[in-house]
Every structure is written in structure tokens, then in C-alpha cells.
Symmetry: C2
Subunit: 120 residues, 2 copies
Amino acid sequence: MGKAYNVMAATCPSRTVLHRIGARWTVFVVNALEGGPMRFTELKAHIQGITPKVLTETLRALEHDGLIQRTSYDESPPRVEYELTELGRSLLVPLSAVRAWAEEHVPDIQAAHAAHVEKP
Amino acid sequence: MGKAYNVMAATCPSRTVLHRIGARWTVFVVNALEGGPMRFTELKAHIQGITPKVLTETLRALEHDGLIQRTSYDESPPRVEYELTELGRSLLVPLSAVRAWAEEHVPDIQAAHAAHVEKP
DNA sequence: CCGGATCCCGGCCGATACTG
DNA sequence: CAGTATCGGCCGGGATCCGG
């Protein structure tokens, strides 16, 4: 069977999907939830440098897209847990590969930058 | 051997790398160049909706990172070709997987959106 | 103390028009 | 054909405040 969607087409809904995936912190949050459910503060501590506002926005967007599930326990102190849905775990596969690529090729990118300084 | 870099650390240079990958149009340009060299106008036509300014910015950034190579032929009319470097082709592997995921899971995302409209 | 919401700013993104 | 120039808007992001 052929491809039903094509991200290169301007009106294709897959663009919206790719737009979300490409959002600044999506790859970080999805990767962070790889090991299982995490609380808001845990996520904030694990993903160093993320601000609560941005973390909230990212979590809401991912929840809206059905990639993560938010569970609120009515306790004191309050407890809220986030975890990947099955759809989210399927996205984790390519996103962890992207993460791995980034961590692996840092020297190559830095070498390319250095080369451009040499010959501008 | 252990991992040298970790994207979760605030000061890790892999963050910069991931930042580039996460830029709006990077995934589109890299995927577009999968089949071989392309000219500026070809790219613009293939990646529907991209503006010349943004395409130029994206191409410059990717060239600076050593992911693509720009070749200018001194002809009339002028001809400029862009192609993936070996490093760029290695990035194509995870990025084409991300693209495939996006194209494949459009119905799931749309179903999640619909579910949130039903029960807000 | 946890899990946010609000205010405000800067930079990236994008549309349109123009040029070697 | 292969880009610049210019302007505007929106979104990402930091600092601060709030409810339970």
C-alpha cells in the first residue's frame, strides 16, 4: 500500500504532527519519560534548564496529542504523574535515536564549526 | 565505554546539536536531500510552503554544521547545488524515521484531539 | 513544599518585495 | 536562478506570583 500522507505537502496534516515533534522540548520530555512515570518536579530536575512554564506547555501539548497521560492523585502534598502512552512509546523509538545521534556526533559538528572559522 | 555526552545536562554541547535538529525546517531539508543533490529552487518547490529567506537560513546553518555541502557553478544562468555530506546522511537515518512516524500516526493524533473535544 | 499560572520580553519565523 | 531587504507577529523563554 502507498503512502497516505506526505510531510512535503503544504496542506498535509502530518505537518502539524512534525511541528509538534520539532517543538523545542518535546524530544527531551519524551526521552525523560523513557524509564516510566515521573512527577512534575522530577521532570524539571531531570531536564536541566527547562522552566516550569515551558515544561507545563510541553506536557499539555503532548497530552493533547495523546502521547503522554497525566494522572493527578488527590493527596497532600499533591502528586501528579506523567507517563508515556502506547503512542508515546512508539514515538520514543525514533526520538531516542535522534537523541543518540546528537550525543554521538558532537565532535563532528564542532569540527565543522572549527573548519568554518579557519576558512571563512 | 560509557556515554560522553548527555542532552539532559544544561551545559552539554549536545544540546546545541539537538537545538539545530529541532529547528523548524531542518527535518524537511535533510529529508528532501535524501535522493541526491538539489538546486535552491528545486528545494523550494519540493518543500511546499517554505520561504526563500527561511530556506537560505536553514541551508546556511546546516552547511555550518557540516551536514550539507553547497556547490556553486559559475554559469549563466547561475546554478547552485546542495547535497548531504556523509555526516548529513548519517543524520538522515533517524530523521527519516521521525518523518515516517509523523506520516504514519496522523490518525492516532487526530483521534487524540477528537477525544479531548469530547471530554474537555 | 508541590504544581502550576501570569507578565513581559527577545528572537526566531514568516510574508512580501526587490536585486545581481 | 538564487538569493537579499524589510517589516511584523508569534512563540519560546525568564522572572515572578499563586493555590492547595
